[in-house]
């Protein structure tokens, strides 16, 4: 079994360190070692949750999660097929490789002002900005996977006189799948980081988890700010878990999975 599912099988290994961390936090706060403005006690963070629910935090979470998933969906829907084709027809990839890597080295957050000019403030620009680096990372990983496809197995495409489309859907896709998942996993955290960051700076009137964190911090509701940050972290873990579950299911056939 891949290492990623192990934590689920042995919950104590995951929970024990977390409890230890929580205990350390409680001790630091309980003994008053740190100013509560900098680090509020765990119980005041927990207490803050009821107030956050009144502030419609659930809606914010849903909104942020929706944006992240939207960005990922766009990135996957474009990145996977295009990546498979470019990896299969490597001549095309050689043509776009240079510009692609140039684009990849520009931090996506630095492009935000440009995105605002091009698509304006709003849902589209938030999702588009998160989709952009996710798309690039899925694309590059998919191309790598498709390029690494077993040449001897691709002989079968010639043998059965498969069309390019059949070759890609029947062979190249499966060959690239492990790399596609690597790309999707990285893209999931990129999307999460960017959506939260953009929400923080997009300005008044917008909502979302990032916006909530920003407003709590700006109004010195520090326990709430901490709670919101923890929620953001939890969403990240959850996303990773979903990707892993999907990966284990779809890559059941990989030889090393059974060793």
């Amino acid at each position: 079994m891949p290492i990623l599912t192990k934590p689920l099988r042995q919950p104590t290994r995951v929970i024990a360190p977390l409890l230890l961390l929580l205990a350390a936090w409680a001790a630091v706060a309980g003994f008053g070692l740190v100013d509560p403005i900098v680090l509020p006690a765990p119980w005041s963070v927990l207490h803050a949750v009821s107030g956050m629910v009144r502030d419609r935090i659930v809606g914010d979470i849903a909104l942020t999660l929706g944006r992240v998933l939207g960005a990922l969906a766009i990135a996957g829907a474009v990145g996977i097929p295009v990546g498979l084709y470019l990896g299969y027809r490597q001549r095309w990839y050689q043509m776009v490789e240079g510009p692609l890597h140039a684009l990849r080295s520009i931090p996506a957050s630095a492009l935000f002002p440009l995105f605002l000019i091009i698509v304006g403030v709003g849902e589209t620009s938030i999702v588009a900005l998160a989709a952009y680096p996710s798309l690039l990372v899925i694309l590059v990983n998919t191309v790598t996977g498709a390029t690494l496809a077993n040449k001897r197995r691709l002989y079968q495409a010639k043998l059965f006189e498969l069309s390019s489309f059949e070759t890609i859907t029947d062979i190249v896709f499966y060959e690239a799948l492990p790399n596609i998942f690597d790309g999707v996993r990285t893209a999931a955290s990129y999307s999460m980081v960017l959506v939260i960051a953009v929400e923080m700076f997009v300005g008044l009137g917008e909502r979302g988890l990032g916006r909530a964190i920003y407003e709590y911090q700006a109004t010195y509701r520090i326990p709430e700010a901490y709670a919101a940050v923890i929620v953001a972290g939890a969403i990240g873990i959850l996303l990773n878990l979903v990707v892993n579950t999907l990966q284990n299911r779809m890559l059941r056939w990989l030889p090393n999975v059974h060793e």
């Binding site: 001897r152 197995r153 079968q156 043998l159 059965f160 006189e161 799948l177 056939w253 990989l254 030889p255």
Partner: protein, 267 residues
């Protein structure tokens, strides 16, 4: 060099009945000018339709390279590989890789792997089911039809790869070490299965192997290659009927001759 009882030099087959002809083939793995000699230089070989030819030689002598050139997987730098004009489809000539994982799709079940080629080559569902059932029993894959290749043993994998390569009755099959992962008992059965299919469907089989007893179990003609550039060290026929028993005079003489020839070809 060989004057042996029932073995005789293969006659030059009459024109027009060839499954395959290798004509003046050059091949070298080193593209840059280097110290190593060309692997193949002006190599020639004819393979008669319906024959079972064991292509033998020591490890690393270029057997697989020749097999891949015959199947048009790799291109010779010069010369021609001629297929019989009766082979109209690409799938009429199949090469089974010596690593069985390369000849199957690991993401499909054993059943899926057997069905895939037939579906792609336009077999009806009915024909396809019947063929899969037949192959599964012939190659002893009945119990594992719903398993994934990663879940089955190396021997089962090799049987699957072999069954898949033969599934659509290709008129010419080039099998690269197809029995290497099989244990003795199973091997006997599988060699029988291959013999049955080859005779029934009139297949031409090129069996690439360095294993003399595997070759003797099924072959009709023995082409031993060696040296560098590769040349035919010996080209013999062995017409003893099947199944062949070790210990008979014919068998033992043939075995000795083959082993000696392979040794002569060592570079």
């Amino acid at each position: 060099m060989l004057t042996v009882l029932s073995t005789q030099r293969a006659r030059a087959p009459a024109a027009g009945e060839h499954a395959l002809r290798v004509r003046g083939v050059d091949f070298s793995y080193c593209t840059a000018a280097s110290d190593s000699k060309a692997l193949y230089s002006g190599f020639e070989l004819d393979i008669e339709q319906g024959s079972v030819v064991a292509l033998m030689g020591a490890s690393g002598c270029g057997k697989s390279t020749l097999g891949k050139m015959m199947a048009r997987i790799i291109k010779p730098t010069a010369g021609r590989i001629e297929w019989s004009p009766q082979f109209s489809r690409r799938a009429d000539v199949v090469y089974m890789d010596q690593h069985p994982m390369n000849s199957i799709f690991p993401w499909q079940t054993v059943r899926g792997n057997l069905e895939y080629p037939l579906e792609k080559l336009g077999w009806s569902d009915l024909e396809c089911h019947a063929r899969v059932a037949y192959l599964a029993s012939l190659f002893r894959l009945d119990g594992i039809l719903d398993s994934l290749p990663a879940q089955i043993s190396g021997g089962e994998l090799q049987r699957l790869a072999l069954a898949r390569c033969l599934s659509w009755r290709p008129p010419l099959v080039i099998l690269d070490e197809p029995f290497s992962a099989l244990d003795r008992d199973v091997k006997t059965n599988i060699i029988h299965a291959l013999h049955e299919l080859a005779t029934k469907d009139g297949m031409t089989v090129v069996l690439i192997t360095h294993n003399v007893s595997d070759a003797l179990a099924i072959g009709m003609r023995y082409v031993i290659i060696g040296d560098r550039p590769v040349r035919t060290m010996s080209d013999m026929e062995f017409k003893s009927p099947h199944p062949r028993e070790r210990g008979t005079l014919d068998y033992d003489t043939m075995e000795k001759a083959l082993i000696a020839c392979i040794r002569d070809g060592l570079v």
